[in-house]
Structure formats: C-alpha cells, structure tokens
C-alpha cells in the first residue's frame, strides 16, 4: 500500500486517551455533585417541550407526551439540570475552538460528495437520533456513556446497539465518509 507511506495531514487535538481520562473525571464530577451523569438529548427535549408549550399551549395540554413531561417538571421544562449543563457544553466547546483556532463556519464533508448531500444526511441523522434517543431514554452521553459509568445494564445495551447498528450500516453509507 503506497498510501500508507504518504504523510497524513492532521489537525492538532489532544491525545485521545488523555481526553478520555478528562471526560471520565467530568463524569465523576457530575455524579459526585448531582448524583447523575452527563446528557445531551434531554436538553433538546426540554427545548422542544418549551417551544410547543409556548407556540401551541392548547395542543400541549391535550397531548400525552407534553402532559406527562409538564406534570413531572413543575417549574417548567427549561429549569432542568441538563439544560444548564448543555449551555455549559456550548460555552466549553466554543472556548476550546477559540483557544485552538478552530472557530470557522463550514460544512465539513468528503470531497466525493457535495455539501448539499452532507447537509441532507445530517438532517436525516438528526431526525433518527432525536427519535431514537427518546425511545431509548437517552443518547450516547446520557444512556451509553453515563450508564456505563455507573455500570447500568441499560447503558451497556444502549452502547452495544448504537455502535453495533452503526457498524452494521457503515458499508452502505461509505461513500459519505471514505
């Protein structure tokens, strides 16, 4: 393989194992302070419920999902741990991007596909992830990583099926990535 002898252009990131240790420490801190793990899709759900409550209050009042959610969140959907945490994520990622000079508007895509195709697939992937994370009670952060951190059986099952399915389908979508 002549390809493997060519120097590979690389953006600088920290050593992934060091990144993993730091992420593990953040997860421990979340459990120590708040008795719970990290999350992402839960904050997006809060935002969706808050939007529906505001835009279509009558609909929210008579639709089961919002009824259940609002009943269990007396102080409103946005006053939630995950919402504050997610605001932090946006700030933290922005800080890292600013410090290491990675702030830039761009559509990142393989040269073999158009940015239009990349964006269409990004939306499809988002829809699937949004739907799946609700059915599965949390996404890669909340269910898989945080669940595994506290040894939850559900966390391991979640991790296995997220990554297992993505591997099983990787061949069909290879053109988008390689």
């Amino acid at each position: 393989m002549s390809e493997s002898n060519k120097p590979i252009k690389k953006t600088w990131y920290i050593n992934p194992y060091l990144g993993g240790v730091l992420l593990g420490l953040v997860l421990i801190a979340a459990n120590f302070v708040s008795g719970r793990g990290l999350g992402a899709s839960g904050a997006a759900k809060s935002a969706v419920v808050a939007t529906v409550n505001t835009v279509a209050p009558a609909h929210a009042d008579k639709t089961l999902f919002y009824e259940e959610y609002n009943a269990s969140h007396a102080e409103g959907p946005l006053k939630s741990w995950l919402v504050f945490q997610m605001l932090g994520v946006i700030v933290g990622a922005f800080l890292s991007g600013a410090i290491f000079n990675r702030l830039k508007f761009k559509v990142e895509h393989s040269p073999k596909i158009t940015s239009r195709r990349r964006l269409i697939f990004a939306v499809i992937g988002g829809i699937l992830f949004g739907f799946g994370s609700q059915l599965g009670r949390g996404c890669t952060s909340g269910s898989a990583l945080s669940g595994m951190g506290v040894l939850s059986l559900g966390g391991f099952i979640s991790m296995a099926f997220i990554f297992g399915t993505a591997y099983a389908l990787a061949w069909f979508f290879r053109k988008n990535w390689i």
Partner: protein, 196 residues
C-alpha cells in the same frame, strides 16, 4: 459526602450552577479531543480514526473505577446515584435507530452541539433534525407508549445481571477495552485517510 445534592450539601440553584460548570468541562473535552468533526467521529466505523473508541472507553473506565474507589472510601454513596433503568426493547430499538442516525448524520447529540458551537454548519442542520425527531416522537407517543414503557427490568447493574462482583466486571471491561484500543491503533495504521 457525595452526591452533594442528594445529601442537601448544596442548594438546587447551586446544583444548576455546577451543572453549567460540568457542562463547560464536558464541551471543552469533547472539542479538544476532536469530537467537533464528523469526519473524525465517523472514522471509528471505517478504521481511519478511532478517537471515539479511545475517548469513550477510557472515560467509561475512569468513571467506573473512580466511582468504585470513591464509594470504597465513603466519599460517595452509590445507592443515591441515578442508575439508568433498563427497558429492554425500547433500549434495543432506540439504540438501533440512534446507530442509524450516527452513521448517516455523523454526530450524536452531544457532539452535534459541540460542533455547532465552533461553526460546523452540518452540525447545525443535524441539530435541526434532532429537534424534529424529538417532535415526531412526542406526537407519535400515544402509539409508542406500550413499547416505551414495556419490558421494564428495574435498574440492574451489569454485575448484578451477571451475578458477579463490581470489581470483577470492571476488571473484565478494562481488559476488553485494552483489546479494543489495540485494535483501534492497528486499524488507524492499516486504513489511513487524508483529512478533508
């Protein structure tokens, strides 16, 4: 001592403020590890970049071992920590749908927000889809409720399900992870790709 909120050592508002700080740490680590790039994230499925595998499993191991030791030293009461419940079929089907979302979208929700914060337009579109997907679930919820609330197994841990001690299972997971790290390093040498 911990968890601080459960033991009433901090107020709810302090808890929210600390959630914000935890989030800053979370977002910073994701971005600085390269999780703001869908190309790097998808790399784990083709072998050219296995940063996801390395960060994810290192973090899981550090958290498992750290929490077990903190429990041993009585720094944290693990009985008060939230253990994700197991609803078998909704977890399996939800996980499979998320996997399909991962390979098509190139992000998961956390990494999507992280990438959007540094200006990745594909991540902004992904998040648009994410909101739409949650809305679709919410509207279809009455139909999905039996699946969502069915096959409830309580909140067992993996060691409980296997009938083994926590430490033994964690040690086993560490060995599995080391094997995967080795495979990841091998794959990166075997299937290198130019950045784009």
């Amino acid at each position: 001592m911990g968890p601080l909120i459960n033991n009433n050592l901090i107020s709810q508002n302090t808890n929210f403020f600390l959630a914000f700080l935890v989030g800053i740490g979370f977002g910073f680590v994701l971005e600085v590890s390269g999780f703001s790039s869908s190309r790097k994230l998808a790399g784990v499925f083709y072998g050219y970049d296995t940063v996801v595998l390395k960060v994810f499993f290192t973090a899981a191991i550090v958290a498992m071992v750290g929490l077990l030791f903190m429990s041993l030293f009585n720094w944290i009461d693990l009985d008060l920590v939230y253990i994700n419940p197991t609803y078998l079929w909704s977890t399996i089907i939800g996980g499979a749908i998320m996997g399909a979302g991962f390979i098509t979208g190139g992000f998961c929700p956390g990494t999507g927000f992280c990438a959007a914060s540094i200006g990745k337009i594909d991540a902004i579109f992904f998040i648009g889809g994410l909101f739409l997907g949650i809305l679709i679930f919410a509207e279809a919820y009455p139909m999905l409720e039996p699946l969502y609330k069915g096959s409830f197994k309580g909140s067992p841990t993996l060691p409980q399900a296997l009938g083994l001690k926590d430490g033994v299972v964690v040690l086993g997971i560490i060995f599995v992870a080391l094997g995967m790290f080795w495979a990841g390093e091998w794959a990166e040498r075997k299937f290198p790709r130019e950045e784009y």
